[in-house]
């Protein structure tokens, strides 16, 4: 959820609304959002599933250090979504191991 009113911060410096997709589904965010912030605002918590135990991971440190929040962005895996600015038309995919869901399912048939 976004903060509508804050006692100290007047302006988060956000720009126009922009569109992107998550696993093919249409989503919206704002210029100035990180990918992770836009997802968090939309209630999305799971960014990826681990390769070995297939457990979910999401935002953890939010400063680009822990790499828990990595996703596939415009086809590129392992993108740190907490420090990567959201851009119009971005294709964001939940990462399974280091691939997307279709590839993961095909590999694990």
């Amino acid at each position: 959820m976004r903060i509508k009113q804050h006692p100290i911060i007047d302006d988060y410096g956000k720009g126009a609304q922009i569109s992107f997709t998550l696993d093919g589904k249409p989503m919206v965010g704002y210029e100035g959002d990180s990918i992770a912030a836009a997802l968090h605002a939309a209630g999305i918590m799971t960014h990826r599933y681990t390769a070995k135990r297939h457990t979910p991971r999401g935002v953890f440190c939010c400063i680009g250090r822990c790499t828990d929040c990595v996703m596939i962005v415009n086809g590129q895996p392992n993108v740190r979504t907490c420090i990567t600015p959201l851009e119009e038309g971005m294709e964001v995919q939940t990462q399974y191991g280091v691939v997307n869901r279709e590839q993961w399912e095909a590999d694990h048939q």
């Binding site: 976004r2 903060i3 912030a37 799971t46 991971r57």
Partner: protein, 526 residues
């Protein structure tokens, strides 16, 4: 190969201060920072800082960050962002990964100001989405404008845990509890008190044992711990939370000092493994310095001075500053630093549990350390918190020796004195007239000053409180007064709401309460 007089690694408070100081002395400085934005963690800090005027006290952290950036820009300091320094090699050569290329840079001196990393504690389910670091909570709410969660458990009661808990409340989140495995709250009592008075419970001697939920946090199990910090079976409690926020300390990021070949030492009082440094921050490798949290965990205000000290030393050695001028500045900065490194939270007192009274000899509140709020009988031991005169007057619930004095400067009428030793508790001069202007209330970084008029109206008292939440209640609003523990104690009517630019977003909210609650009512809720 780029060549400079000075390379600074890290554009946080220590690094930027070092770069500004060096550039002012005419040095050619390059700053490298791995982040996309400069300022380190300063832009997440929306609370007012402690210290005195020379330490930017009562300024909010992000404003200090803006000022540093403006100074750096004015002086033409080159701040290279997205530039990760990967190592420091012989001859003070650094290898920098900048975007997709790797570049070399060399300088006569290097200042490592890489800051700190958050500590974590493992527990069942700690890798679930919804378990986040305190810094992550700040990044989401204070930089991105997104609530980290609806209901949060804060693990850790050091200053980071306390400050972030308050910021979560300001962002509109609920804080279910603040817990700490230690038997006492680790951070400033005033930071704890402003959280406790909103109704947030503190559980000391407690740890988190499990994050519940399938794909995300849907609850937290906490338990009491024994003297060896092990959970005691049978003491588990389940909290209904969607987020668990971890604030269990910081560790210096001294890896680059290691690559440079600096002697390192494990020093618990400085927060972990740090380079061995002299009084100017110079490591065992000549002309390689380390300043700020990377050299030992402290506050941003000390980091800024430490950065400057290393910079003037580097400048002197390189011939940009004469010996006499260097000594004068070094003495000035050392004096400024020593003002901050005093009191019960000073680095040399870290981990001490044997302190039972203030420097003035007043008994320290046990309740404040255990529950985050002062008990009425404890407050009465402090003269600054218990003045009873006719008319409005300040009540300062400042009961620990913390280096801070903006209240003294705030009062135009000389009502409040802290003195040269800024860790001393404020003293109120009852002979001076208080006009109820509220500047002291707004100036107190700990939000510990209240304006009380015991005889506001027959049978009623007025209590003015610092208020930093939205929406701000309007004059005439009726609700409840809460006591220091956050429990509703009586009806209250808001009689005035005062805010001026100089108060910097701390509103003076004055409520009318039955006279017998004048010394208890410390928060307002609709």
């Amino acid at each position: 190969m780029m060549r400079h007089d000075l390379i600074v690694i890290g554009a946080g408070p220590a690094g930027l201060s070092a770069a500004i100081e060096a550039a002012r002395l005419g040095m050619d400085v390059a700053v490298f920072d791995e982040n996309a934005r400069p300022g380190g963690q300063l832009f997440k800090q929306i609370h007012k800082f402690f210290g005195s005027k020379e330490h930017h006290a009562k300024e909010r952290g992000f404003r200090i960050g803006e000022d540093l950036l403006a100074d750096a820009e004015k002086l033409g300091v080159a701040v290279h962002l997205n530039a990760t320094v990967m190592g420091i090699y012989e001859g003070r050569e650094v290898l920098v990964k900048h975007e997709d290329e790797t570049v070399h840079a060399k300088a006569d001196a290097i200042i490592i100001a890489t800051g700190a990393a958050e500590n974590m504690i493992p527990f069942t389910g700690w890798d679930k989405p919804g378990v986040i670091g305190a810094g992550a909570a700040q990044a989401l709410m204070n930089l991105q404008g997104v609530m980290p969660g609806k209901r949060i458990l804060m693990v850790g009661s050091g200053n980071v845990g306390l400050v972030v808990s308050f910021q979560l409340l300001q962002a509109g989140c609920e804080v279910a509890a603040v817990i700490d495995a230690a038997p006492r709250i680790g951070g400033y009592g005033v930071h704890a008190a402003k959280v406790a008075r909103t109704g947030v419970p503190f559980y000391t001697r407690h740890t988190v044992v499990e994050a519940l939920g399938k794909d995300r946090v849907e609850g937290a199990v906490i338990a009491e711990v024994d003297d060896h910090f092990q959970p005691i079976p049978g003491t588990e409690k389940t909290l209904d939370v969607d987020t668990i926020c971890i604030a269990v300390g910081l560790s210096p990021m001294s890896q680059l000092a290691d690559t440079a070949g600096c002697d390192l030492v494990l020093d618990r009082k400085r927060g972990g493994t740090v380079p061995v440094i002299d009084e100017y921050g110079e490591t065992s490798v000549p002309n390689v310095y380390c300043a700020g949290d990377a050299a030992g965990i402290e506050e941003a205000s000390t980091a800024m001075i430490l950065g400057r000290i290393s910079a003037i030393r580097a400048a002197e050695k390189a011939g940009f500053l004469g010996a006499a001028e260097f000594t004068a500045r070094a003495d000035e900065y050392a004096a400024s630093l020593s003002k901050l490194r005093r009191g019960m939270f000073a680095p040399q007192n870290k981990g001490r549990t044997d302190m039972t009274e203030t420097d003035e000899g007043y008994p320290l509140s046990k309740s404040l350390l255990a529950h985050g709020f002062l008990e009425p009988n404890e407050v009465s031991a402090f003269p600054c918190a218990t003045v009873h005169e006719v008319g409005v007057h300040p009540v300062i619930e400042c009961t620990q020796n913390i280096p801070c004095n903006p209240c003294q400067d705030a009062c135009r009428f000389g009502c409040i004195t802290v003195g040269d030793d800024i860790v001393k508790l404020p003293v109120i001069d009852e002979t001076k007239r208080c006009t109820g202007c509220g500047m002291c209330v707004a100036s107190c970084s700990g939000q510990a000053i209240f304006l009380v008029d015991e005889a506001y109206e027959p049978g009623y008292a007025s209590v003015g409180i610092p208020y930093e939440f939205v929406p701000v209640p309007k004059a005439g609003a009726r609700g409840h007064a809460l006591n220091r523990a956050g429990a509703p104690i009586c009806d209250a009517e808001v009689v005035s709401v005062k805010y001026t630019k100089a108060m910097d977003k701390t509103v003076l909210l004055t409520m009318k309460v039955p006279a017998e609650f004048a010394s208890e009512a410390r928060f307002y809720r609709d």
